[in-house]
């Protein structure tokens, strides 16, 4: 199971058969927490939701760690597939709740950072986060996978069901769009 933790560095090694021990989990967590959190945060925008979803991702990861198969892809791609599913599930549930009741819609986390967040986050991060939320869902997802999660275009393409070159084009356009958003915010 030690290899599960080593996979954090190599991305391809297979966990040994057996149940993940505390040391393995600690190594995987310490290595991946920032990347997973940044990915989730880029997609959902607010800190509270990012905290909840990141917790869910790691709890799911712990439950499934023994089932990781390196033949099916690198470890980080496997982990971010879990993270991506968690975020997608979150948005799906939001849509479902908004369809059920307008009252429940009020529970939806705000897209703009709270006062507390504004105090904690620096202005640059807050603005970047806000600009990211103005992108389309797919653009935000791909930008987050590319720059926050640090995945390759190939891994993203496999995960998103797109061509590798298509991923490059979408990411490029999304960066340009984000640039415009930030400029527009300044103006």
């Amino acid at each position: 199971m030690e290899a599960a933790a080593t996979a954090a560095d190599e991305g391809t090694r297979q966990p040994d058969p057996g149940v993940a021990g505390p040391q393995d989990i600690a190594l995987v967590y310490d290595r991946f927490f920032p990347r997973v959190y940044n990915y989730v945060r880029c997609r959902v925008g607010d800190r509270q939701t990012a905290d909840d979803l990141t917790s869910e991702v790691f709890m799911r990861d712990l439950a499934k760690l023994d089932r990781y198969q390196p033949a099916r892809g690198p470890f980080d791609a496997w982990l971010f597939a879990i993270a991506r599913n968690a975020v997608n599930d979150h948005f799906r549930s939001l849509r479902w709740r908004s369809w059920l009741s307008l009252d429940l819609l009020a529970e939806r986390p705000g897209r703009e950072p709270s006062v507390e967040e504004a105090l904690i986050d620096d202005e640059g991060r807050r603005r970047l986060s806000a600009a990211l939320q103005r992108l389309e869902g797919r653009e935000r997802d791909l930008l987050a996978l590319k720059f926050a999660a640090g995945l390759t275009n190939r891994a993203i393409a496999a995960m998103a069901g797109l061509g590798e070159s298509n991923v490059g084009v979408i990411v490029h356009r999304a960066v340009k769009k984000l640039q415009r958003e930030l400029k527009g915010e300044k103006a």
Binding site: P17, A20, I25, A26, Y37, L128, K176, L182
Partner: protein, 188 residues
């Protein structure tokens, strides 16, 4: 600033933005980092403590299934030893029958007096011709012996007939491995 400079400037800005995206760390503002870590470790400890029973079963089940298949195939195979089969008295020994010479069958003790030393050769005997003594046979025929490391050949020339007796070290498999059109006669 011409158009090219403008494009270059935009590219630089895009690069800077990408750089910023890569470097921005939102996780520092997370409120769950330490508490989540503690929860995960506690959960890992709990899972590991509960794991041995099913983990061991998961590892042993395929091995047990494989062993069962192998044993099943072995028991059903054509070469499986039959419990009713009597043990072979001669073991892997070769049975050599005595040759005929001029209408008479020679006693092997006569033509191969030293051969009983060899454990892999059993001398055959034809009851009807037991009366012929070694001395009588040797007085009428004379064999030419050729020996090698693994065989011994005695050749008799008795006027109208040439007779060759060969003894050689062979395995039991060599004797009964004759096949024709894919038929293994050991199985018949």
């Amino acid at each position: 600033m011409n158009e090219r400079d403008g494009a270059g400037g935009a590219d630089r800005e895009a690069e800077e933005l990408v750089q910023r995206l890569c470097e921005t760390d939102f996780s520092a503002a997370s409120g769950v980092r330490e508490s989540l870590r503690a929860r995960l470790l506690a959960e890992a400890v709990r899972r590991r403590a509960a794991a041995p029973r099913w983990a061991r079963a998961a590892v042993l089940a395929p091995a047990a299934a494989f062993a069962a298949v192998v044993l099943g195939l072995y028991a059903a195979g054509p070469d499986a030893p039959s419990p009713e089969a009597p043990p072979s008295p001669g073991g892997d020994r070769i049975l050599v029958l005595a040759p005929k010479v001029g209408g008479r069958v020679l006693s092997l003790e006569a033509v191969l007096p030293e051969s009983p030393e060899r454990p892999d050769v059993a001398l055959g005997r034809v009851e009807a011709f037991d009366g012929a003594t070694s001395a009588a046979v040797l007085s009428t025929v004379e064999g030419r012996v050729t020996e090698s490391k693994t065989s011994r050949v005695v050749r008799w020339e008795t006027g109208d007939q040439v007779f060759v007796l060969e003894t050689r070290v062979v395995a039991l498999e060599d004797i009964f491995s004759t096949r024709s059109m894919g038929t293994d006669y050991r199985r018949l």
